[in-house]
Symmetry: none
Amino acid sequence: MPRGRKVDSDGEVTRQLLLEKAIEQFAEYGFHSTKISDIVNKAKVTQPTFYLYFESKEAIFLRITGSFQMQLIDIITACFLEENLEEHSLKLQINSNLKSIFTFFEKNPLLTKIGFVETDSARELKNSMVKQITENLKSGQRLGYYSDLYPMNLVAESLVGSIERLTLNEILTNKSRPIELAKVLVDIYFTGIQKK
Amino acid sequence: MPRGRKVDSDGEVTRQLLLEKAIEQFAEYGFHSTKISDIVNKAKVTQPTFYLYFESKEAIFLRITGSFQMQLIDIITACFLEENLEEHSLKLQINSNLKSIFTFFEKNPLLTKIGFVETDSARELKNSMVKQITENLKSGQRLGYYSDLYPMNLVAESLVGSIERLTLNEILTNKSRPIELAKVLVDIYFTGIQKK
Amino acid sequence: MPRGRKVDSDGEVTRQLLLEKAIEQFAEYGFHSTKISDIVNKAKVTQPTFYLYFESKEAIFLRITGSFQMQLIDIITACFLEENLEEHSLKLQINSNLKSIFTFFEKNPLLTKIGFVETDSARELKNSMVKQITENLKSGQRLGYYSDLYPMNLVAESLVGSIERLTLNEILTNKSRPIELAKVLVDIYFTGIQKK
Amino acid sequence: MPRGRKVDSDGEVTRQLLLEKAIEQFAEYGFHSTKISDIVNKAKVTQPTFYLYFESKEAIFLRITGSFQMQLIDIITACFLEENLEEHSLKLQINSNLKSIFTFFEKNPLLTKIGFVETDSARELKNSMVKQITENLKSGQRLGYYSDLYPMNLVAESLVGSIERLTLNEILTNKSRPIELAKVLVDIYFTGIQKK
DNA sequence: AATGAATGAGGGTTCATTCAT
DNA sequence: AATGAATGAACCCTCATTCAT
């Protein structure tokens, strides 16, 4: 293949293509097993072209996970922090919050796999999610909406675990929709499954 | 250094030593970032010695995860399959089941990290766990102990997610004991956190 | 950014700019560690622009060292070849010659570093310098001005070595001036340092 | 070629072979143009074998230059520091010192090229050489052996330049022997070339 | 039973250079 | 006259694995 610029080539297009292919590879094989050569082969460019747009394998990975996680943090913050805690709407509100999280995951399945499920840096993110939910639950507890018997940090941990697994096995596999999962979770965590 | 058999050396001891060090490395760094050279350095033997006892890096990893996962399957099967479903003891029974699972994890923290949390092959295991729990819950539903409104496979997924996260963040960090976690989970999933 | 000719741009200006920046880089980092990208970045043009004016990295390097070395050869030839060997003025003459060489170096410090100190091609130049000085010294020897005991080629080698080192460590660092160095060298080589 | 140990292979032999070939390459092509692949090809081993014995290209280079320079420093220190300054033997002593330096270079021509002529780190070494010689000359000056008119640091610089050039062009090319060069230098620097 | 010595197979990255606009 | 975009050709280095002792 001759050197130099291809006809009708456009840097922004190539950059996006590389990002896209990188996302696919990272989602399927993870960071270590993804090779630069795979990414560029899929994008039909050569390896030096990769380095035209991204500093390193780590850099593109951080760019991908970073921007995804920032979006996710925004959503979570909006959900669990600025909540107006009124009893009659509480359940609805939480339902809606969970739904928006699941919906975000549903819209970005590959990024979710890379940036929420499998990355080390997702650990912090989930931990901060746990913290925010814990605070939220404690507020509800103080206001008398939730039973005093529960250690809310454990409840929050449990909920985040539920969200993670349902995301991985129901959302990312297209087996369930956000609306269903949000409802189930709210029902379980609010009233339990035992027949009254 | 002279070659050949060391004085007082015993093959079985070396094999166990390698297994032990491999477990430590895999638990701390994961499969990809663990190098054979790390394992043998820690065990104070040379690389060829490793291959005297294990066919490959994959082989030792499978041996480690495999035996752990077999034990875990036994425990889970015992818990959720051979259960006698009587209403008055149901909650106690499940509580006890969860406690034994968490206890198993607490006793084997490194193996749990390798074989339950971070391995791909753990996916199947957790899936089968979900299936067994689902069946169990459906039986309870048929017998009228649980509300008919819940899709039990999702409940089971949610529960497994909760277990996983609590294991990772509470058991493996020594923050909580099995008995607490079992109680919290039973309480949540049976009756919910909403104040009555 | 729009492509094509910039407003007010002038090829010759760009060529000079590239030369200048290349000289800076070559002087500071040497041939191998100087990258085309460094040169063009400093000149605020792009890489293809470089190839508009110079065929290759080697080409610009040769152009730089070549023109410098040609000037230097002229000076040296003037100094040591067309010399009129009269005893009373010999020492003065040589003093003046050395001074003009050092002055040339002082005026072109970067080029001196590139083209006299660090380049392989400077070897030939210095060798021819040695030859000319040798001939000159031999003439002086034949005319009875210098002792017959000295192998003049070695004296010439020694002198060139002295010049090189004093250039590098005194002239290029601005620690000494040409006039001092010329005097010291003439004194040493003519009469030695031993107290009479 | 099959993997694993070769018949009769010996690590120490291989290490020495690699060192030897590396020295040849570095001497001929310099650090940057010497490739690991060249070294290992010449030594008839593969690239990973190189890394069995040396951490990196830089490491082997430093090892080579380092040990050479340490030996050289020892020699120089012995020569110019512990000198007993008595007038009748001064000239002989310096002659002998220069001879041992040139002899050291003659015995290690490749190392000399790498570690004395072409390396950046040789700059410091030569500078310290200049310093020691300067001190030595100043002592001689104070004792009245040398003329007060000379700035001895410049004389020392000049001498080191002479040594360097004579080493490169006479010793390393086998054109002159240490004994000749030492004599010439002593004669020049002590009494000058002018006929009395 | 164990070691010393070596290699196959790649993986990430850099840099001078070139084509199309 | 100048740029945006791309590539060929290396180069350094790592790691699991294997042979000879």
